[in-house]
């Protein structure tokens, strides 16, 4: 515990800028993962405990795609699409069978996939830590903002996440697809009675959520080292984010993700060992005071 270090940081503008930028990129990654998680929960009413593994898969696919194609943007797109396809397979052949079962059954199926995917990654990409390195396109001198150093790639990550968030918001609130998805979330029976194929809506939402996690993995690849099991910590954190923001609320996921990202980056200066404790304390407080989360709807 070193609260004086935190105080010193808060009095220096450059430190604030550096930590905020770190907090924002963590928040962006968490937002993408948690948005998928919360969307899947909102529509399908299941919790995809294997969502962290999809993120891991995205990072590794991006790594291989980047090595082959030499284009980072292409690698990210391939990672998103690849994980999206895998999600369809996972949903159609496994998750679908436990939609109406106990939450424990869903947990078990997802847990099995966490174990299997971790080992699959070990078999395909090896046990060791891997790193992609900064893509050539982003090897530019960092930007200085008020004395704080911000790598160019951080700016790209935050804007990419913001862009994806905006597109999601537009699609969900302004288009026919969004209307159909919201209808399926609200009342699946009525939606299917009205002649919409809820099976495909479910598969589509699951694939989209998975693709978001895959994209997040691809975005994380240049700045994080990769290892089998990297999905675990992001899974736990995106849980905290969805619970704080409200299960099923995408805007809640945004608020929660930014909150947790900033708490993590500033907390790691003041009390590195207790950062996790703080996040869980926040989650416990929200659950006690407003179980539906900051922006979630009260359950009917």
């Amino acid at each position: 515990m070193d609260p004086t270090a935190l105080y010193e940081c808060l009095t220096s503008l450059s430190c604030i800028v550096t930590q905020t930028s770190t907090g924002l990129i963590v928040g962006s990654l968490l937002f993408l993962v948690a948005a998928g998680l919360t969307l899947i929960f909102g529509v399908l009413k299941v919790i995809n405990f294997a969502h962290g593994s999809l993120y891991m898969l995205g990072a590794y696919i991006a790594l291989s795609a980047y090595r082959i194609t030499d284009s980072y943007i292409l690698a990210a797109v391939i990672a998103g699409a690849g994980v999206g396809l895998f999600s369809i397979f996972f949903e159609r052949f496994f998750m679908r069978k436990v939609y109406n079962a106990d939450v424990l059954m869903q947990l078990l199926v997802c847990y099995a996939f966490i174990l299997i995917l971790d080992d699959a990654v070990k078999i395909i990409w090896g046990h060791e830590f891997q790193s992609m390195g900064m893509p050539v396109a982003f090897q530019a001198p960092p930007v200085f903002i008020a004395g704080g150093i911000v790598p160019v790639f951080y700016l790209f990550m935050v804007s990419a996440a913001a862009l994806i968030g905006l597109v999601m918001w537009y699609v969900l609130t302004r288009t026919r697809i969004g209307k159909v998805v919201r209808a399926a979330a609200h009342n699946p029976t009525m939606t299917s009675v009205l002649g919409l194929n809820t099976t495909w809506i479910y598969a589509g939402v699951f694939a989209f959520g998975g693709a978001l996690a895959g994209l997040a993995g691809a975005l994380a690849a240049p700045v994080r080292s990769m290892s089998p099991g990297m999905g675990f910590s992001i899974l736990i954190e995106s849980f905290i984010v969805t619970v704080i923001g409200g299960m099923g609320s995408v805007s809640g996921a945004l608020v929660g993700a930014l909150l947790i990202g900033l708490v993590r980056s500033f907390g790691s200066i003041g009390f590195p060992l207790f950062v996790e404790g703080i996040m869980f304390l926040a989650m416990a407080l929200i659950l006690v005071l407003k179980p539906s989360g900051l922006l979630g709807k009260e359950p009917r």
């Binding site: 515990m1 919790i47 496994f94 069978k97 436990v98 079962a101 939450v103 424990l104 059954m105 947990l107 078990l108 199926v109 847990y111 099995a112 996939f113 966490i114 174990l115 299997i116 971790d118 080992d119 699959a120 070990k122 078999i123 736990i236 849980f239 905290i240 619970v243 299960m247 009390f271 060992l273 207790f274 996790e276 404790g277 869980f280 304390l281 989650m283 416990a284 659950l287 006690v288 179980p291």
Partner: protein
């Protein structure tokens, strides 16, 4: 059904189980078998206590390991720093878990379904963080080092044979107590609250109180499991209260079966065997275990004891379960 007759029957069953366990070292005097049963006692108690909540109370706790770890740490600290004797330290650990369960349970049990699960998870991780951070007391991520003095009078629990008998006796007594509690009117009230909380409320049952009592009971027995584990490894580690430990317990009861009392113990044994065998035979432990889990979840769709009980029922078409 005659209550005292059932009681006697169960007592006989418990004694028979205990006799078999005590006889094992005379038949297979191998260190591996003894170690296995000691660990089984710890994990079996832990999983069965979780099943009080999950199977009988309908409350899926994702944070039960906080009491497993809590019991282990309370016991270890009382022995190391408090200089207590073993029975006093065990009692102290159980009381500590009861108090912890009272405070955390009072907050958690009012929440429904998945929110209950998440809140218990949050509290568990909070406790894990406290253990990691409070280095001066708990030894941080190194765990409680320096060993626990395991001698009481002429009983030396550092000796595997003695610890084996001790674990068997404590394990069977605790299992019997849990069985007794779950077959009591309280146990049936708990099942009713699980099945229909609203109806229970109309009948004048204080649902919150019933759930809280179940939560405290489960915490105490998980604490005893933690004590056995602390005695076995002569220490306590932060992993005891990490969420993966809770996950394993959930997994144990799902594999063993949550509608049969002894199911979680069977599940604990199964998981331990799978872990040992798989680790020895293949490098890809997760892959093999994952496939087994999928077979259980999508193939059997229930735990192994529930599966067997159901087959028996199909053959004989009689009797209700649990």
């Amino acid at each position: 059904m005659n209550a005292s007759l059932t009681f006697n029957k169960e007592l006989l069953l418990a004694l028979a189980g205990l006799a078999i366990l005590i006889a094992i070292p005379f038949i297979f005097p191998s260190r591996v078998a003894l170690d296995f049963v000691i660990r089984l006692a710890a994990f079996g108690l832990f999983a069965t206590s979780l099943n009080i909540l999950v199977g009988y109370g309908g409350m899926v706790s994702f944070g039960h390991a906080m009491f497993f770890g809590g019991g282990a740490y309370a016991f270890g600290l009382l022995m190391q720093k408090g200089g207590a004797s073993i029975p006093v330290a065990i009692l102290g650990a159980v009381v500590f878990c009861a108090l912890l369960g009272l405070v955390i349970g009072a907050i958690c049990v009012r929440l429904k379904e998945i929110y209950f699960s998440f809140l218990t998870l949050a509290f568990q991780m909070l406790i894990h963080s406290i253990i990691i951070t409070w280095t001066s007391l708990t030894g941080g991520d190194q765990g409680l080092m320096g060993g626990i003095p395991r001698v009481w009078g002429s009983i030396n629990l550092a000796d595997t044979q003695t610890l084996y008998w001790f674990s068997c006796i404590v394990g069977v007594i605790c299992l019997f107590m849990m069985r007794y509690i779950l077959q009591s009117p309280f146990g049936y009230t708990l099942r009713m609250v699980r099945d229909n909380a609203d109806r229970a409320k109309f009948l004048g049952i204080d649902v919150w109180r019933v759930r809280l009592y179940a939560f405290i009971l489960a915490s105490c027995f998980a604490g005893v499991g933690g004590v056995i584990m602390a005695l076995f490894v002569s220490g306590a580690y932060p992993e005891f209260s990490y969420w993966t430990m809770s996950g394993e317990a959930v997994f144990m009861i799902m594999m063993g079966g949550l509608h049969t009392f002894i199911g979680p113990v069977v599940g604990a044994g199964l998981l331990m065997v799978f872990n040992d065998v798989i680790t020895r035979t293949t490098e890809y432990h997760g892959l093999a275990l994952g496939v087994i889990v999928l077979i259980f979840a999508l193939g059997f769709k229930r735990g192994i004891t529930d599966f067997i009980v159901q087959i028996f029922q199909m053959i004989f078409k009689r009797g209700a379960r649990s």
